[in-house]
C-alpha cells in the first residue's frame, strides 16, 4: 500500500472568507512506516486525516490528488468511499469516548463493520470482535459493556480494536494518546508498532512530540496548513532545522527535557482566502494571516512570503517577500529561505595561551540562532577565555571566528561599533566591570552613546529606564543618579545585565551573570532572558558553575576541562546521562556532596587525559594517549574519553566526525 498526497488544498467556505486549512500538501505514506504529523492546533492536522477518510464537512472544498495505490480517492462519491473506508483506510478519531454510540454495546460496535461490510454472521462477528478486544486487553465482561461504563484508556483500546477489525492498510491516528496514563500510552504505542510490523502504514497525528519521536519513522511539521519540515523522527529534538520545529520542541514538556519551557512568540494564526479589491487594482484572491484581535486589513501577507515569518526570530526582509519552497538539507526537507536555523556564531579552531599556560586548546563551537549554550567546568578550565573569545572581546592566538556567517575579525577591524552593538557582554566580576566615576544612568546608557544609536537624550533616558525595570531595578531619578559604590553587588550585577541588553544584542555572552543575585531576583532575570530568547531569538553563552542553573536554561551544555571541551551535547543528555567521568563528578559535586570525592590540584598527565589522575576509571592509556571522540545519539552528544559511561543498551561510535565539533580534526 502506498498513499500519495499531491498538492492537496482544502478550504472551508465561510461567507466569502474561506479558511485555508491545508495548502498544497505533498506527503507520501509508505508501507510499513509510521509518519507523524505534528504542529499546533489549527495547523490542519485533523483536516488531513479526515480528508483521507472522505469525511470533510459539506462546506469544504478540496483540490489536488490523493492516490491510494495509484487510484484517485479524492472526490469519490459516498459509495466509492464506503469501499475504502475502514477496510483500507481506518481512523482513530480524537476525543475517543464521543466516538462510540452510547446506545450500543462496545462489542457490537466493534463487530458492526464485519456484519455490515463483510456479511459475516452476527455470532461469528461478535466472536472476532471479542478476540480483537481481548488482544487489546479488554476482558469479555468489559467488551459487552456500554461505552460510558468504560474508562478512558479502555475506550481508547476499544477504539483501536474497532479501527483494526478490518485490518486496514492505512491507519490514521488522531491524538491516540492524549489524556492517557503512561501505562496505557505505552500499550497503545506497542499496538501501533505492531500495526507497522504487519506492513500497514500509519499516519500519527499528535501533540505528543515524545511519542512522535520515539514511535515514528518520519515526522512532518505542519504550520498553518503547510508542511514546514520533514525529517527522520530521531532528529525532532536533537536537530530541528526549521525555526518553527525548534520553537515547537521547546514548548513541549518532554520527559527528558530539563530546561524550562520556552514557547513560540506571537499568537497562533489561521489563514483565510478571499476576494476584494486591493487599492487601485481589481479584485483578486489572496491569503490573509489572521490572528485573534487583529483586523485582517493589517495583515495582508502576500502569498509569496514565509508563513512563519511574523513569528520567526530570524526572519529578514526576504522572508516577507520571496517565495519559499522546500529545500533539502541533509535528511531534512525545510521550507525556509535561510536554509533552516542559521548559525549565530561559529568558532573554528580557536586557541589561547597566556605564557606557558594553555587557557584554551584548539576548540570548535557552533551556536545556532536562539540557542542557550552553557559552559560548565571547574575553575581554570578555560570557560571565561572561551566566552570572551566568542564575544569578540579577547583575541584568540589562532583560529577563525564568524558572527552571522561574517568573519568577526574583519568585521571588528572595519566597523567595531556595529559588531559590538550585536553582542552584549556581562563580565565575571560586576564591581570591577563598571567605572566608579559614572552614575547608573551613564553606565547603562554608555553602549548607546558609543555606538551612537541612543537617539536624543530623552529617548536614551527612556531606554535606560526600561532596561533597568527589566532587571527589576528601580528607575527613579534618585536611583539613576547613584554611583556604583552606593549599590550592593547584586544591584551592580543587574546594572551590568541592563547595560549588556540595552543595545538589543542578538548574542549575549554572560560570565557568571547571576552569581551575586539572590534566588528571587535571579529567577526574574533568568525569566527575562528566556523571554528574550523566545521573543527576539537571543542567543546566549552562559558561563556558570551552577549545574542547576545550566539544567534550567541550557539547550546545549559544553563541559570544559583544562582548556578542552571534553563533553558537549544537548543539556538533557550531557546532564542527564553524562559520558565523561569528569562530567559525572561535576554533577555529583554540584549536589553539595562532599565525602572525599574531589581531589584538587592534581598534576595533569602530560599528553594524556587531564582528568586521568583523578579518574577512578582511568587505565594506562588514559595517561599517555589523547582520548578519542565518542559520539552518541546521532553524534549530537560527544565526549573525549577512553572510558565513556555508556549504558549497556546504547551503542556508540568511535572516531566518527562529530557535528557538534568539540575537538576538531585540525588540532592534532
Amino acid at each position: 500500500m502506498k498513499l500519495e498526497i499531491d498538492n492537496l488544498t482544502v478550504t472551508y467556505r465561510n461567507n466569502g472568507h474561506n479558511l485555508l486549512a491545508l495548502d498544497r500538501i505533498d506527503l507520501t505514506l509508505e508501507r510499513g512506516r509510521i509518519t507523524a504529523l505534528v504542529g499546533e492546533s489549527g495547523s490542519g492536522k485533523t483536516t488531513l486525516g479526515r480528508t483521507l477518510m472522505g469525511l470533510l464537512p459539506d462546506n469544504s472544498e478540496s483540490s489536488g490528488c490523493i492516490k491510494l495505490d495509484e487510484n484517485e480517492i479524492l472526490g469519490l462519491d459516498e459509495e466509492g468511499l464506503n469501499e475504502i473506508r475502514w477496510s483500507k483506510v481506518a481512523m482513530v478519531f480524537q476525543n475517543q469516548a464521543a466516538n462510540f454510540n452510547p446506545a450500543h454495546r462496545i462489542i457490537d460496535q466493534v463487530a458492526e463493520p464485519l456484519i455490515q461490510r463483510r456479511n459475516m454472521k452476527k455470532d461469528d462477528a461478535r466472536q472476532s470482535a471479542g478476540d480483537a478486544l481481548k488482544r487489546m486487553g479488554l476482558l469479555n465482561h468489559q467488551a459487552i459493556r456500554f461505552p460510558h461504563e468504560l474508562s478512558g484508556g479502555e475506550i481508547q483500546r476499544s477504539m483501536l480494536a474497532m479501527a483494526l477489525i478490518m485490518e486496514p492498510e492505512l491507519l490514521i491516528l488522531d491524538e491516540p494518546t492524549s489524556a492517557l496514563d503512561a501505562m496505557t500510552k505505552a500499550f497503545v504505542a506497542d499496538v501501533i508498532d505492531k500495526v507497522r510490523q504487519r506492513g500497514s502504514s500509519v499516519l500519527l497525528i499528535t501533540h505528543d512530540l515524545d511519542l512522535a519521536q520515539k514511535l515514528s519513522d518520519d515526522i512532518a511539521v505542519l504550520y498553518l496548513g503547510r508542511i514546514m519540515e520533514t525529517m527522520p523522527a530521531g532528529e525532532l529534538f536533537l536537530n530541528p532545522m526549521h525555526p518553527y520545529t525548534l520553537a515547537l520542541g521547546r514548548s513541549y514538556p518532554g520527559v527528558q527535557v530539563l530546561r524550562d519551557l520556552g514557547g513560540i512568540r506571537g499568537e497562533a494564526f489561521y489563514r483565510i482566502t478571499h476576494q476584494h479589491p486591493q487599492t487601485g487594482e481589481k479584485a483578486m484572491f489572496h491569503n490573509h494571516i489572521i490572528g485573534p484581535g487583529s483586523f485582517h486589513e493589517d495583515r495582508h501577507v502576500p502569498p509569496a512570503g514565509c508563513l512563519f515569518q511574523p513569528r520567526c526570530t530570524q526572519a529578514d526582509g526576504d522572508c516577507l517577500l520571496k517565495n519559499v519552497s522546500m529545500i533539502n538539507v541533509g535528511d531534512h526537507q525545510v521550507r525556509c529561505l535561510r536554509g533552516g536555523i542559521v548559525n549565530r556564531i561559529e568558532l573554528k579552531g580557536v586557541s589561547k595561551r597566556y605564557g606557558q599556560v594553555v587557557a584554551l586548546d584548539c576548540t570548535n563551537l557552533d551556536l545556532r540562532a536562539g540557542e542557550v549554550f552553557c559552559v560548565v567546568g571547574e575553575t581554570g578550565s578555560g570557560k571565561s577565555t572561551l566566552a570572551m573569545i566568542a564575544s569578540g572581546v579577547l583575541l584568540p592566538d589562532s583560529g577563525l571566528r564568524f558572527f552571522d556567517s561574517i568573519d568577526m575579525d574583519e568585521w571588528r577591524k572595519k566597523d567595531y561599533k556595529s559588531l559590538a552593538g550585536r553582542i552584549g557582554v556581562v563580565y565575571q566580576n560586576p564591581s570591577q566591570s563598571v567605572s566608579h566615576r559614572l552614575s547608573v544612568l551613564d553606565i547603562v546608557a554608555e553602549p548607546l552613546r558609543i555606538q551612537g544609536i541612543g537617539g536624543d537624550r530623552k529617548e536614551t533616558f527612556e531606554r535606560v529606564k526600561k532596561a533597568l525595570a527589566d532587571v527589576r531595578l528601580p528607575s527613579e531619578q534618585e536611583f539613576l543618579r547613584r554611583y556604583p559604590h552606593e549599590l550592593n553587588l547584586g544591584a551592580i550585577q543587574r546594572v551590568c545585565i541592563a547595560r549588556a541588553l540595552i543595545s538589543e544584542p542578538s548574542l549575549l555572552v554572560a560570565d557568571e551573570p547571576t552569581s551575586f543575585l539572590d534566588p528571587s531576583v535571579q529567577a526574574k532575570v533568568l525569566k527575562l532572558l528566556m523571554e528574550l530568547q523566545t521573543e527576539k531569538g537571543l542567543t546566549m553563552i552562559f558561563v556558570t558553575h551552577d549545574i542547576g542553573l545550566a539544567r534550567k536554561i541550557a539547550d546545549r551544555v559544553g563541559v570544559m576541562l583544562a582548556g578542552k571541551m571534553v563533553e558537549i551535547g544537548p543539556s538533557s543528555l550531557v546532564l542527564g546521562s553524562p559520558l565523561h567521568p569528569y562530567t559525572s563528578l561535576l554533577i555529583k559535586s554540584a549536589g553539595g556532596n562532599g565525602g572525599g570525592m574531589v581531589q584538587m590540584n592534581a598534576e595533569p598527565a602530560k599528553g594524556g587525559c587531564s582528568f586521568a589522575p583523578r579518574c577512578t576509571l582511568a587505565d594506562r592509556a588514559c595517561f599517555w594517549q589523547l582520548p578519542p571522540q565518542v559520539c552518541l545519539d546521532g553524534s549530537y552528544h560527544s565526549a573525549a574519553c577512553f572510558r565513556p559511561q555508556v549504558t549497556d543498551n546504547e551503542c556508540f561510535m568511535e572516531n566518527k566526525p562529530c557535528l557538534s565539533g568539540a575537538a576538531p580534526a585540525c588540532c592534532n
Binding site: 481512523m91 464521543a98 454510540n101 452510547p102
Partner: protein
C-alpha cells in the same frame, strides 16, 4: 440494576397509587351540587329543600374511604345513579374505544413523525426539509378542536363521506370483516384529527434532536466505518434521537382521558372522554371517581413503564440510578 431497586421502585409507586386513590375519591366530592340538583337542573321543576332531601334519601349515601378502598380491592367500583349501571361496566365499555383511537393515533403519528423527522434532518438544508419544517410548524399551531370541527364539517356534513358520530353503526348485524370496516370508517375522522394534532410535534421534536445527534462524533465514526447510509441514520443517529420523542409519547398517553374529552365530544365518540364529560354534567359521583381513578392510575403506570424503558433506550440512564456508595 439490582433487585433492590425494583423493590424500592414498586414501593414508591404503590404509595403514590394509594395517594391517587384517595385523591380520586375525595376531589370529585368538592364539585358544587350533586346528582339530584343536576337531574332537575335543566327542567322546569323546582324542588323544595324537603323534596330534595326525600329524593336523596332514596339513594344510599356514599360510605367512607376505607369502605371505598375495600370495595375497590374486591373490584366493586360502585354504581352509577345516572346510567343505572355498575361503573365498571361503563368504563370497560368506553375504555377500548379510547385506547383504539388514541393508541392508534399516537402510534401512527409517532412512527410517521419519527421517520419523517429523521429523513428531514438527514437532508438538512434541502428544500424538502425546509418545506417540511414550515408546514409542520404551522400545523403545530392549529389546535385539535379547529382541525376536528373543520374535518367534521367538510367530510361528514358537507361531503358526507364519513359518519359524523359514534364508533360503529348501531343495531347493525355485520360479519367480522364488515364490522372492522365499519369501525374504521367511524374511526377515520377523529383518528385523522388526532394524527394531525400529534404529528407536527413528533416531527419537529425528532428533527430537532436528530440534528443535534448528527453533529455527534459517533455518527462520523459510523460513516467512517463505511456502513450503509440507512444504517448510519437509524442504528446510530436515530437511535439516540429517540428519547425526547419517547418522553413526549409517555406524557401524551398518560393524559389520554383528559385529552380525549374535546375530540371525542366533537365526534360523539363513545370513549372515556365522552363518558367523563357526561358524568360531570350529571354529577355522577361514583362514575367520576372511577374515571379519575383509572386515568390517574394510568399516569402512574405509564411513568413506571417509561422509567424502565428509558434505561433500555439509553443505557446511560440506567447507571444514573446507581447512587455513590
Amino acid at each position: 440494576m439490582k433487585d433492590g431497586h425494583y423493590i424500592k421502585l414498586t414501593a414508591v409507586y404503590f404509595f403514590a397509587g394509594l395517594v391517587m386513590v384517595y385523591a380520586s375519591y375525595s376531589l370529585p366530592k368538592w364539585l358544587p351540587g350533586d346528582f339530584v340538583t343536576a337531574m332537575y337542573y335543566g327542567s322546569n321543576v323546582t324542588l323544595t329543600a324537603e323534596q330534595e332531601a326525600q329524593i336523596r334519601a332514596c339513594y344510599p349515601c356514599q360510605e367512607g374511604f376505607s369502605r371505598y378502598l375495600l370495595n375497590l380491592l374486591s373490584l366493586k367500583w360502585g354504581y352509577s345513579y345516572a346510567f343505572l349501571t355498575p361503573v365498571s361496566d361503563l368504563i370497560l365499555e368506553a375504555l377500548p374505544w379510547t385506547l383504539l383511537l388514541f393508541g392508534g393515533a399516537h402510534g401512527a403519528s409517532m412512527l410517521f413523525g419519527f421517520i419523517a423527522g429523521v429523513e428531514a434532518a438527514w437532508r438538512r438544508g434541502g428544500w424538502v426539509e425546509k418545506a417540511g419544517v414550515g408546514c409542520m410548524t404551522i400545523m403545530e399551531g392549529v389546535p385539535e378542536m379547529c382541525t376536528g370541527v373543520a374535518l367534521l364539517m367538510l367530510f361528514a356534513l358537507w361531503l358526507g363521506w364519513f359518519p359524523s358520530s359514534g364508533a360503529e353503526t348501531a343495531y347493525s348485524i355485520y360479519s367480522a370483516i364488515e364490522r372492522i370496516w365499519d369501525m374504521t370508517h367511524h374511526l377515520a375522522l377523529p383518528f385523522t384529527t388526532l394524527f394531525l394534532a400529534y404529528l407536527p410535534g413528533n416531527f419537529l421534536l425528532t428533527r430537532g434532536s436528530m440534528v443535534m445527534v448528527l453533529k455527534e462524533q459517533f455518527v462520523q465514526t459510523a460513516r467512517a466505518k463505511g456502513l450503509p447510509p440507512s444504517r448510519v441514520r437509524y442504528a446510530h443517529a436515530a437511535r439516540n434521537a429517540l428519547l425526547p420523542m419517547f418522553t413526549r409519547f409517555g406524557l401524551r398517553i398518560a393524559f389520554m382521558v383528559t385529552g380525549a374529552v374535546v375530540v371525542e365530544t366533537i365526534f360523539s365518540y363513545p370513549g372515556m372522554g365522552t363518558l367523563l364529560y357526561k358524568a360531570i354534567g350529571l354529577r355522577d359521583l361514583s362514575l367520576i371517581q372511577g374515571i379519575v381513578l383509572i386515568s390517574s392510575l394510568m399516569v402512574l403506570f405509564v411513568n413506571l413503564a417509561m422509567e424502565i424503558l428509558y434505561g433500555i433506550i439509553d443505557p446511560r440512564i440506567r447507571n444514573a440510578y446507581k447512587l455513590p456508595a
